[in-house]
């Protein structure tokens, strides 16, 4: 996940944002971030892809990413420029896919309560500390187990397995 601080404007959405609205099947013939990015969250918020700036942050309620196993979903969000997703909870396949493709995700219900759409937020992915720079408030996201942390530190599963196969990280 890297130790660089993440900073951006928040796009806030509700509960159970499903993979079909994150990236509709009509675009899923492509796996390429640059082709998926213009359609990220299109069926939920048609203005997202045109408004999102590099580093911006998606904040949502429970069960973010429920539905399909399509990895195109976190690829689209990351490709659009979002630096991370903060949610009350994530659906399990989306959670795994995000870790595996290197999209930082943070589980922080209190932070979701204290952040509004359009706020500017800073996130330290190394410590999980989330700070609302617009209206104040500081929270710490749930820590990841070391095994998962290890995948994130390698930039995702491809890097992790590459290192493992090379015998550097077993």
């Amino acid at each position: 996940m890297g130790n660089k601080l993440l900073f951006g404007r928040v796009f806030k959405y509700g509960d159970s944002i499903d993979t079909d609205v994150i990236i509709p099947a009509r675009y899923c013939t492509s796996f390429h971030a640059e082709e998926l990015a213009p359609h990220a969250l299109e069926d939920l918020d048609a203005t997202f892809a045109s408004r999102v700036q590099q580093g911006d942050i998606v904040v949502a309620g429970h069960n973010f990413g429920c539905g399909s196993s399509r990895e195109n979903a976190p690829i689209a969000i990351k490709g659009a420029g979002a630096s991370c997703v903060i949610a009350r909870s994530f659906a399990r396949i989306f959670y795994r896919n995000s870790i595996n493709i290197g999209l930082p995700i943070l589980i922080a219900p209190e932070a979701v309560d204290g952040i509004e759409d359009g706020d500017e937020v800073e996130v330290d992915p190394a410590t999980g500390v989330i700070e609302n720079k617009t209206r104040g408030g500081k929270w710490t996201a749930d820590a990841f187990p070391p095994e998962i942390r290890n995948i994130m530190d390698n930039g995702g599963l491809v890097g992790y397995v590459k290192r493992r196969l090379a015998g550097m990280n077993t």
Binding site: D20, N100, E147, V161
Partner: protein
């Protein structure tokens, strides 16, 4: 310590004496499955830099999502998969002709009681219908599995669902699972395993159990399973090409929650837009005009589903306001439906009988909805934009409701439903 089915299977596959909920384990699955998204798996497998797959005999690839290819991009992905399976000597490759991946996995015996299977599709939970545990993962994760044969898994808490009572006439597994999803909610079983028990489950066919395990994913479940019994063993005995050992929970296994359902009180259930847990009894949507009906999918595309629909439609005509799509779940179901005369009934009534595959269920192709249109489907998801336009609506039901809607153009009242003999 006493353990649930899932804890015992995961312990076995991780080579550990016992495992506990919350623990992360490295497991070796018995089989791994990918469909059209094997195209992305292959790309990631190359990125990893691996040369050969861990074991070609444990990899199953059925093409089903966009078959035959609906676009040049899909055709190119399919081509890369065909080349890869030759290169890696993957024998269990099923080209566009064979059927929906989950149906193919079960009916070809690629999953057996007590096994652990992972697949790059969310409805991989289906294989609990034969007493296995199975779950969906992403493509990169599958690439890592192809390279190493291993995966990290968190041992889930287990939800025990006990179903008692006899189904009223015309009510069945689809109504049961929609009702349970409505009760538990879309996130109510997130990260959990579900074990199904009770006389109602025991009386269900493997096909009915398939429907229940398939849609358990819509509550967030990681695994869903029905303990193997004589029905399971009878089903798999002619298919199994390797030894298997059913796994059962200990009597005093610890469940994080227990849910008891009385099936005798159920009426037909409908999931209304745009969430699968938005479930109502049929009376709440009776009279609603529908434009398209889909009978099929990994949820309800088996021979018993088609028989229920054909019995309703026999000698009748599809409403002029309806497009009816019937999609048998696999080639073998298609053939059996043909031999039983079901396909003739459908075609005579005015249905389009499509080739086995996923097509309209995920809005990939075949029967895309226009703005403002309504579809009633026996499939498993009704998310916004799922079958086409974001202003279209998808309603989910059992096959009998679907067949009746195809004839009348409207969702029936409970009285109309009950007056129609099964």
């Amino acid at each position: 310590m006493p353990h649930t089915i899932c804890e015992k299977i995961l312990a076995q596959k991780a080579g550990l004496g016992e495992v506990f909920p919350g623990q992360l384990v490295t497991a070796k699955p018995d089989m791994v499955m990918s469909h059209d998204n094997a195209g992305l798996v292959i790309r990631q497998f190359r990125q990893i830099g691996a040369k050969n797959v861990f074991d070609p005999s444990k990899i199953i690839i059925p093409l089903d999502h966009r078959v035959p290819a609906e676009s040049e991009q899909t055709a190119t992905a399919h081509k890369s998969i065909r080349e890869f399976v030759k290169e890696q000597n993957i024998q269990n490759f099923y080209d566009v002709r064979e059927g929906i991946c989950h149906q193919v996995m079960v009916e070809k015996g690629h999953v057996l009681p007590g096994e652990l299977v992972l697949g790059t599709d969310s409805h991989t939970t289906s294989y609990g219908c034969v007493g296995a545990i199975s779950s969906g993962i992403g493509a990169t994760e599958m690439a890592a599995l192809w390279a190493t044969g291993e995966i990290w898994l968190r041992v889930p808490d287990t939800l025990k669902v006990v179903v008692n009572g006899e189904f009223p006439g015309g009510v069945g597994p689809k109504d049961l699972i929609l009702y349970i999803i409505g009760q538990v909610s879309a996130k109510g079983a997130d990260y959990m395993a579900i074990e199904y028990y009770g006389p109602t489950i025991e009386s269900m066919s493997v096909s009915g159990r398939f429907t229940v395990c398939n849609m358990s994913m819509e509550m967030g479940a990681k695994f869903a399973t029905v303990p193997a019994d004589e029905k399971t063993v009878k089903y798999v005995s002619s298919l199994a090409d390797r030894p298997y050992q059913p796994v059962y929970a200990d009597n005093d296994a610890v469940y994080s929650r227990e849910l008891i359902v009385d099936a005798s009180k159920l009426v037909p259930q409908i999931a209304i837009p745009h969430r699968v847990d938005n479930v109502v009894p049929i009376s709440e949507v009776s009279g609603l005009d529908i434009n398209q009906v889909v009978i099929g999918s990994c949820t309800n595309g088996r021979i018993d589903d088609l028989e229920i629909a054909a019995n309703i439609m026999d000698g009748k005509q599809v409403s002029s306001d309806i497009r009816l799509l019937v999609i048998p779940g696999s080639r073998s179901i298609y053939l059996e439906a043909m031999e039983l005369g079901l396909l003739k009934t459908f075609v005579e009534a005015g249905a389009l009988v499509l080739n086995p595959g996923c097509g309209p269920c995920l809005g990939a192709h075949q029967g895309i909805l226009a703005p403002g249109e309504r579809c009633l489907a026996t499939t498993n998801r009704n998310f916004k934009g799922r079958m086409g336009s974001t202003s279209a609506e998808v309603y989910l039901s059992n096959p009998k409701v679907a067949a009746m809607v195809a004839i009348s153009g409207k969702i029936p009242t409970l009285d109309e439903y009950n007056s129609e003999l099964d």
